[in-house]
């Protein structure tokens, strides 16, 4: 195994894991406020198709990323309306949102299947430009990749170091108590969903505009559900989400490594690793998980009379 091959594996692992980290962060923000979004898959798809088509039409990948983020936020607003304002069941609303995303993304992207775009520009890692060209060409990443760690830190700072984050987490634990202390649980949940949706949109944008650079129906292939699993794995903590996304990337890298060294292991079995590992971790935690999960997660806030 040469250093070059190792770098190649690492680089592709980073590319495939980025969208997942943004998505996980987005779901963490929503779940911290007490709203679980099972329709993540649908949000990702709509953002990915919108971002891709805008990039194709305008030729500007950055505009594409921005639209994808707004699309993600808007999709989450539908969930907000159903689950917060109309007090509908969150799981059912999320699944309905997923089917909505399947359909809407197919409709938005229908004319762009197979279209070619100029993806997000890739910038050589600072300090790597002195290396031989073959190495440097593997160390070229786009802006969204460089921003992953800052984004995770920013979400952590927002949630744990600002008054807004305190209110958000308070709503996630007990909306009634938060209401009693002068906060508006509904408004905060909408805000959390909007911010979360923007992050999910950024993840989707990376998938379609930077990584795959094309649009196909159902291109997310279960990433939304991986993200939901990673949220639990990360114990609803943004910084631990980095570890979760790395884990997923490592599984991808491992798979590529095995393939490049000629060992035949089914990629399908390797793909189950993140899920099975999350399951094992959950079992290892036993019943103590309750400490980590926002207490009001999934519950309907009936409002205070």
């Amino acid at each position: 195994m040469s250093l070059l091959a190792l770098l190649g594996v690492l680089s592709s692992a980073i590319f495939s894991g980025t969208s997942l980290l943004y998505t996980t962060l987005g779901e963490i923000v929503g779940e911290r406020s007490g709203i679980v979004n099972l329709g993540l898959e649908g949000v990702l798809l709509v953002s990915a198709s919108t971002g891709f088509s805008v990039t194709y039409l305008t030729g500007s990948p950055y505009l594409g990323v921005l639209t994808a983020m707004v699309a993600g936020g808007l999709m989450n607003m539908i969930l907000g309306y159903l689950a917060v304002t109309r007090q509908a069941n969150q799981l059912a609303s999320g699944l309905a949102l997923m089917f909505f995303g399947f359909g809407l993304s197919a409709w938005i992207g229908r004319d762009y299947v197979g279209a070619k775009i100029v993806g997000l520009p890739r910038l050589t890692l600072p300090g790597a430009s002195g290396l031989p060209l073959v190495y440097a060409s593997l160390l070229r990443f786009d802006l969204l990749i460089y921003l992953t760690i800052p984004a995770a830190v920013l979400v952590w700072w927002l949630l744990f170091r600002t008054r807004w984050g305190l209110g958000l987490r308070a709503v996630g634990e007990s909306p009634d108590t938060a209401y009693a202390s002068g906060r508006d649980p509904r408004r905060i949940r909408y805000q959390a969903l909007w911010v979360g949706g923007m992050l999910v949109g950024a993840g989707a944008a990376h998938l379609s505009i930077a990584y795959a650079m094309n649009w196909t129906e159902y291109m997310t292939a279960g990433r939304g559900f991986i993200a939901i699993a990673l949220v639990i794995f990360a114990k609803w903590h943004p910084l631990r989400a980095i570890v979760g996304a790395l884990l997923f990337s490592a599984a991808v890298a491992f798979q590529l490594l095995l393939q490049s060294s000629g060992v035949q292991v089914s990629p399908f079995l390797l793909n189950t690793i993140p899920y099975l590992l999350t399951l094992v971790v959950l079992i290892a935690w036993g019943g103590r998980r309750r400490v980590a999960a926002p207490a009001s997660l999934g519950r309907v806030y009936q409002g205070a009379e």
Binding site: R86, Q87, L104, A106, G222, F268, T278
Partner: protein, 339 residues
Amino acid sequence: MWTAILRTALRYAAMAMLAFLLFGFILLISGKDPIQSYRDIFVSTLGSAYGFSEVIVAMTPLLLTALAVALPSRLGLINVGGEGQLYMGACLATWAALTFGALPPWLVLPIMVVLGMLGGAVWAWIPGQLRARGIVNETITTLLLNAVAPMIVSFFIFGYWHSPMDTNKTSIFSSSARLPTLFHTRVDLSLFLGLALLGLFWFIMRYTRWGLEMRAIGGNPQAARLNGIPTRGYVVVVMCLAGAVAGLAGMAQVSGYYGVLLANFSRGLGYMGFLISWLAGGSPLGIVVTSFVVAIILTGGNLLQLTRDLPYSMINILLAMTLFVVLARPSLSRRRKAT
């Protein structure tokens, strides 16, 4: 009484109208005539015997996956895992079809049914055990296992079972491993299995001791336990039964509908079952009616694709909008909790 029913019917009709209006708007933007599209959808599904039979075909797996959610919901369990259980059922049933395909149908089909149900049951047994022991709640585990099951199916297909010509599906099952179809349509025997199981579910919940005890656990688990009802045992057994029903749906899909096992053949049948059961409040009759309505919409999607050159998935928008307006319905949302 009758005015109340009439009012409910009117309300649902108005909600359906709203969904159709919204989707019609999208059709209009796509440059299609919405009224003509809707007419086509209804004429093609309900206007002919063939169209009607196709609706029934689409409805069949939904009956089973919805039952797989409704049954545990009586205990207050949330089984989101119908999708994975369905895949595991299809997986084991396919193994039986490929291994015993040469045997006569009266021998192969029962083996496939039993193995299909076993596959689903095992997949639901894990969350059932974890929940009964108070380790992890079943919503999360069923969701995680959902993602694993299709990969296991793909592993077997791509690695061992694929036909000489394809990589992503098995050879067509031998005729003895196919569920018999009825009246020269694609409606197969699993329709009656689904209806019979729903009937059985209704009977058990209403007239047996098991039903009473399950309702007791669903109402107040602590009180049920103090009254000597084995709640843990119920949780595990009911989850396994639900998994078995979903597994049966998977078996019926590969043996009846497709006749082959295709990688990723179900895109959301299990989740659809969850939504249907939830909309129907877990009532058997409600499940039949809701599945029928959903099946009309899904079958209509084929028509959009054929005559309006729109992607088939677009029909999911109409489906989702119908769900949205029902989910957003006033006051009814707090009507009953897992009765």
